[in-house]
């Protein structure tokens, strides 16, 4: 009774996204060195409360079941809790990513009482030294306090979201232990060279050996650990990880940024992947259904240099954003191709695209040897988040 394989259906796009990331603000109290949206300062053009309500109304009409809200740090928006309530009252569930700054005991109790709100706390080290080197001094303590508050309020199964880096790839068991301690679920996602991550990727992205260990660890833990489908390039090792294993950009996922711009995916904040703006006539619905960019992404893709590779059917050439921001052609190998084709291709790159946007705090660049450099967001939204089952 099965029709065409689901992956084929998804590649040609759906009338509404399955999973939508919505960054509510570029403002952030942190300055994570790998922030994929280069957040820090609020943008004066950010959507007003009324404009956010209108977006939620559209999502309700399109039957988008839930949105992944991030930023910046979304909870610093004064109308954040109001918008969460507005969304859930309109049958749009909310999962929001936070560094934990506003998750007080009172907030935690309120969140625990709702079936329609899920919380994801960002943590990029299982120890404060590893975490704070990337996310900033005190950020580990803030995240752990938020987790304690959620657990004490009885919020079962909140998510702990980790961007896997060279520095924390050896801490996977420790991360799992932290999640188990709080009755939370661990979520591991891939570091992308997006936003400020473009500047730090060389130092932070896992080594080839670490990728292999990560893959084995993920296979061992199966659906108990979420990945937001972000490691589908590792399917080229052999067995696929749980998930859809495809790039959902513009097909089943997209990003709405704080000023209403719609991008193909949360990791592709660049003019080349800008599909339109929710403020234009027809709103988000028109952008999703009729933008030229999305129509293009939904056409059958060619494998390019990867087409002759035996693993192409598994990895589909990997992550579009990772290729783009490392200066690789979109129809060639992923920079972290497990067959090693990416490193060869990277050695031939002579120029990388410049970021289109930067909302970083104006504290001036700081050297990156495991150092701070400006803002954060909940740096880990990813396509197909939560599609583990």
């Amino acid at each position: 009774m099965t029709v065409a394989p689901l992956v084929e259906q998804f590649q040609s796009g759906l009338d509404a996204p399955i999973c939508l990331t919505w960054e509510l603000t570029y403002a952030c109290n942190l300055s994570c060195v790998h922030c994929l949206s280069s957040s820090g300062r609020r943008d004066p053009r950010e959507l007003s409360t009324a404009e956010c309500e209108a977006v939620i109304d559209e999502l309700e009409r399109m039957q988008v079941f839930y949105v992944n809200i991030g930023g910046g740090e979304p909870t610093v928006r004064p109308d954040f809790w109001y918008l969460v309530d507005y969304a859930t009252a309109h049958h749009v569930g909310v999962k929001f990513s936070t560094n934990g700054i506003k998750i007080t005991p009172a907030v935690a109790s309120r969140l625990a009482a709702s079936d329609y709100v899920d919380v994801q706390i960002s943590l990029d080290g299982a120890t404060s030294s590893v975490n704070d080197a990337v996310r900033g001094p005190g950020s580990y303590a803030t995240a752990l306090r938020a987790m304690e508050n959620l657990a004490a309020a009885g919020f079962a199964g909140f998510k702990i979201s980790v961007v896997v880096t060279r520095q924390n790839a050896g801490q996977l068991d420790e991360f799992k232990a932290i999640a188990d301690r709080f009755g939370a679920q661990l979520r591991l996602t891939r570091l992308r060279p997006s936003g400020r991550g473009a500047d730090t990727w060389d130092e932070l992205h896992p080594t080839a050996a670490q990728q292999r260990s990560l893959y084995d660890w993920l296979l061992e833990h199966g659906e108990n650990v979420l990945t937001g489908d972000s490691f589908f390039h590792l399917a080229a090792y052999g067995e696929s990880l749980p998930g859809l294993n495809l790039c959902g950009a513009g097909r089943v996922v997209c990003l709405i940024d704080p000023v209403g711009d719609v991008y193909a995916c949360p990791f592709a904040i660049h003019d080349d992947f800008l599909a339109g703006n929710v403020r234009s006539p027809g709103g988000f619905t028109a952008v999703w259904r009729s933008s030229e960019l999305f129509a293009d992404l939904r056409r059958p893709q060619t494998g390019g240099a990867c087409a002759s590779c035996s693993a192409f059917d598994s990895c589909r050439g990997g992550c579009m954003a990772a290729k783009f921001f490392t200066g690789l052609p979109l129809d060639g190998p992923d920079p972290e191709c497990v067959k090693g084709h990416g490193s060869l291709a990277l050695s031939k790159v002579d120029s990388k695209p410049k970021p289109s946007l930067d909302h970083s705090h104006r504290t001036g660049p700081v050297p990156v040897t495991i150092g701070m450099r400006r803002p954060d967001r909940a740096c880990d939204e990813s396509p197909l988040a939560g599609l583990g089952g």
Partner: protein, 98 residues
């Protein structure tokens, strides 16, 4: 609550309903199902199965819902397996139990 932990042990002669926290979004290939309580997404890969689910609440048994949706006897085991999977993930619930 999961009513079954395996496939195939689904009671076709019981009354079933879509679980209250579940939303359905029809798609070309069938439908997307989302459970707000467990936050799990499922894919219905068949428009006929979607039809079966929509008929559950107005029919006395799952077997009748299948018949009304035009499921032939030979196909029934496959639909029973699909329904068992949906019951195991709490997408549908036995009516007496809810």
């Amino acid at each position: 609550m999961s009513t079954e932990d395996g496939r195939g042990s689904f009671d076709l002669d019981a009354a079933w309903d879509l679980a209250a926290p579940v939303s359905i979004r029809p798609e070309r290939f069938g439908a997307l199902l989302y459970h707000f309580g467990t936050r799990r997404l499922s894919f219905l890969k068949s428009p006929v199965l979607l039809d079966v689910l929509r008929r559950l609440e107005d029919t006395p048994t799952a077997r009748v819902a299948c018949a009304h949706a035009g499921v032939a006897a030979a196909e029934l085991p496959a639909y029973r397996t699909a329904l068992a999977t949906l019951a195991a993930s709490d997408m549908i619930r036995q009516r007496s139990a809810s």
